[in-house]
Symmetry: D2
Subunit: 353 residues, 4 copies
């Protein structure tokens, strides 16, 4: 189950301390110009160490394509790519060899597969998201040729929450803040909170909001395979994701039908307009041409610089404590991953429709 998608598909491979991580993109339309700089730049956005509130491990991840491109364009053949793992200090993890780290995948992986690769999380390492970001970047390239644009941002970090709706934000500001929040004041509060958490070796969760503009009507399916279900599936596959909602979501459940129904009206030009978008651009599982927007909740990263009690594979009580610097908040790095999974989902459903 390392393949994702129906028509536009990603098969992902690689573990934290193997030779390389990468993937194979299948089903990409042919004759698309491949903007390698854009893809590398997207990959740089997920890289740790971009600011002092993210982990400082150096990962000079360079993507190399092995197939599927000829004279700068896609051929319709599968596009394999890889990023070599250059920073493999496996010995750093020797003390974790037999330890189940709390709230990591160590324990469940061990139960399922009967062994473990203790080095940096193995296959369950966040490094697997490299493949998502590369494939998502390729999807974005195809989507933008179709006038579809996808943007995500940090809308909540811990208890600091951006109250403005996305329609009042300037997305051009997202990349200007280390937390990838487009509202300067809120971003500053978030940054302060993350520093505070970081100072004590702790971590904090939050929420990312994503907006998809230009998605044509008619994408998705009415029963199973709803566009909303496909997006939920994609988002919940991201490491540390704990929740998904779209449109009015969890926060609108206290409202009444008369408050949230989206009314159709005749526009001045005679076409059909919709007065509001509580539906989040999806009705009955199918896109209606309005903006699609949704949220993804992330738990705090499980790796702490604080000592935690746990057990080893023999069931003996031990204390575990990560060394070096750590990543106090997943959100800034998760923004491009959310975008990537959204881009792949929208493109896949577009090709399927």
């Amino acid at each position: 189950m390392n393949t994702w998608g129906n028509i536009f598909r990603l098969t992902s491979f690689g573990e934290s301390h193997g030779t390389a991580v990468g993937g194979v993109i299948d089903g990409c339309p042919s004759n698309i110009t491949v903007d390698l700089d854009f893809i590398q730049n997207e990959l740089n956005r997920r890289k740790p160490g971009q600011s002092d509130i993210t982990t400082s491990r150096k990962e000079p991840d360079r993507v190399e394509f092995l197939s599927g491109i000829y004279e700068g364009k896609t051929t319709g053949a599968p596009m394999a790519f890889m990023v070599r793992n250059s920073d493999c200090h496996s010995e750093d993890y020797d003390n974790l060899k037999d330890v189940f780290r709390p709230s990591h995948a160590d324990y469940t992986w061990y139960l399922k597969y009967g062994h473990r690769d203790h080095r940096g999380g193995g296959r369950s390492s966040a490094r697997e998201t490299i493949a998502r970001v590369v494939a998502g970047a390729m999807a974005k390239i195809v989507l933008r040729e179709n006038g579809i644009h996808i943007v995500a941002y940090t809308s909540q970090a811990g208890n600091i929450r951006l109250e403005k709706p996305y329609t009042e934000l300037d997305f051009g500001n997202i990349e200007k803040t280390p937390v990838r929040c487009p509202d300067g004041e809120t971003a500053a509060q978030m940054t302060a909170l993350i520093r505070e958490v970081q100072a004590v070796g702790d971590t904090i969760g939050g929420v990312i909001t994503c907006v998809c503009k230009g998605v044509p009507a008619g994408i998705g399916n009415p029963v199973f395979g709803k566009l909303s279900a496909a997006l939920a599936n994609a988002m919940m596959s991201i490491p540390a994701a704990k929740g998904f909602d779209y449109g009015m979501g969890f926060e609108g459940v206290h409202q009444r039908g008369s408050e949230v129904n989206d009314l159709f009206y005749r526009t001045d030009s005679g076409s059909i307009g919709i007065r509001s978008n509580h539906s989040g651009g999806i009705q009955g599982g199918i896109s209606n041409g309005e903006d699609i927007y949704f949220r993804v909740a992330f738990k705090p990263i499980a790796t702490l610089l604080q000592p935690q009690s746990t057990v080893d594979t023999n069931g003996n009580a031990v204390i575990v404590k990560a060394a070096g610097r750590h990543d106090p908040c997943v959100l800034p790095r998760a923004v491009p991953i959310v975008e990537a999974m959204a881009a792949m989902t929208i493109l896949d459903q577009l090709l399927l429709a």
Copy 2:
């Protein structure tokens, strides 16, 4: 895309005013005794008109199996079933023939398929959930032979919210209240709210919580196909679902890693225990043997007894207003649907593991 699942699969069919709704269950293990009374009873639970706070349309839905059962047991062959649509007053819908009802699937269906069946929502009618409940009941039968039990209940209706965690509730009370909330006092408040909403022809949303007990460790996949993603996909395919979270979910994002990490410890018997369950029974996409619990947010039903402005297929402004009685809150009926989708997901992943 009317087939769901990998190994245990449901192919669903039928629209509101066709001959029948039903489905085909494929991949059910053989030699399972089919408890038809249980299945019919599950179907009765989703039936409208069970109490005065749900719609009063009479739908004496009787399930009929057409194949796959021999001498009272499953054979391993596909199990087709159907429920005839007996209550087909198509003419009741004649005034909706060309109208796009606000926040229904009418408009998107029309854009996708180039036509519409205006009678009761057609394929997008909630009647398609009959197939889910029947297949889910069959999944429950298989699961309970494996010691796995699934229970859902209404945990929020409008702004009335059950604050107690599921561990403090007596699930035996769920079916005793019309809103399917196991806490008597909260249930009474919810019922009062729904009556109030109903009195003015309006509708209200809410949240259902679901708990899966006895799921063995090792179910689900580490990257794509996470058990959490499979559950999200299943839940978001339910009509009117707007959000999904599991474990600490959206409400835990403000907490710190040191607060929510689930610590392993050595039990008195020498086995490995887990002190808390903020993970919701799933770590790194794979079940860890603890209770799996999650929430599903539902929007208010779009059909109101109040007049609403909209347009018809020609773009002309019209007023739409449902007639007769209506369903002020989807929650009581959605409880068995959530359980059904959860049962199918858990069984499918169990057979896949």
Copy 3:
């Protein structure tokens, strides 16, 4: 695994002596006029008892659609259909209750599923092909709107073989002979052979040739999912099928590349023509616009009116001998089944391309 196809999909259900056999067609394009008479007529073509060289059991199979059609057209919703099993003399099979019939699926089904339904073959009965023929008829309706036509005929029965290539045959004669062979003289020889075999309670195998005209270039995939592989998969799923080849097939392996390469040339109108069609319309897995033709080998039906030694479920030696009349040759009935599977395959690949 009772679902077939990628986009145009059939989920099949039903066993010989259950309530009904049928299926659910998913992914059929919307707004197609459903010619129910044509579908019923296709179903009649597979019916036993059409002539004295086929089995004489009466099966007045009437197809009933349960969903997916509105005002005579497809809606895009799944099309469920069923044919009731009216001729269920289960007691006729009581003597087979514990017997493994030679070269039937009794034994393997028992090993796989741990039980058996001895009545008429259960799920492995040829009655399951009813669902194929109905879905194939629907596929044919869609294909003919796209100028694609599919015809099959008996090209070999026992050692009687039609030597003429398909290009020299008048397909209008196929339905005029009981063996569905368009060459009158050969058909007469085949009929005589089948009568001879029938007279001694035996059965005989043969070959069906199928031709697909009007398939546009570009259907199929270059590596996995070759159009030739998809056709092989479809044909080998038909009961009693033992072989598949296309174009020059098995019979051309002794030829040299210089003899069988299909040469391109410039036509008078300046377009690209192909001088021969040893490729059978598929090159590198993808259709090239020429006629697609292939053959399917069928073994003799395993049910004989002769006594055969076998064992029962306890391993005791017993003699089995079918009663009443039997079907001496599967070919006439298999012709519409081959066409149906070809139509479904071509349409599915067309929708996927």
Copy 4:
């Protein structure tokens, strides 16, 4: 559609003159010792230039695994591998830049994808079979731990045909002859024929027979997904394959049911035996525990050293003639590919059952 399989899956990538060819194996059981020498040896078996009757291009193909192996064992994570394309004299193909070679995939690829990579066949090059052989070798390793062994051999080259059934052959002789035919005399005749064809720059087709021993009963499915259909699908996906049959196949269609039915009997030990195996180890789509055997027909390779008339992309008539040495017969190299696809199919169905 570059992914193959249900549980044990191969995603294949790479074109003839790109950076590398390779694949990702997903779903391989964990804790299997990976015999890299065996895998490399299997790859060497498909290499051109092993004898003077195969093409002499040097391809020192070395397989490199990038993931999924830890301490010499499979981990359950996807196993990515690649083989670099070292012999990329793209300029050798410049004269083919705009030419459609007869009976190659050039023309259909161009029609499907709107462009072409003329260098050595691009994605449609036989180099893609490298991925199959590597994944097949891994499948063989898992199968042999389960007592399942798969062997293929050349049973017909041109009109030279090995008449002995497989049961009379010594498989230990297969690798001793350049044509991979275990019967010395027949092998000598085949070799002579191939040399003769080679001398005039021509090519010749043939048949490969494959035998699977030790496959347990119960593998495969009764309707769609028959084991025979899965094998047909796999074999027909091999480049140049034109036909597939199993058991009595095409050659038994002239026989009668009374001649070919496989009779059950009670063995001396009281178990159930089968007197013959015309069924080829599969009855009703499901394995019965006997040997599975089947044949695959291959056309002559389309690349000739003789001049052939064709057209270019502009429709102009041109003459094409391959340079250097060529491969007069695909059979010796196809033997390990047939084995690989058989191994993958059997393992996939075994894991699915």
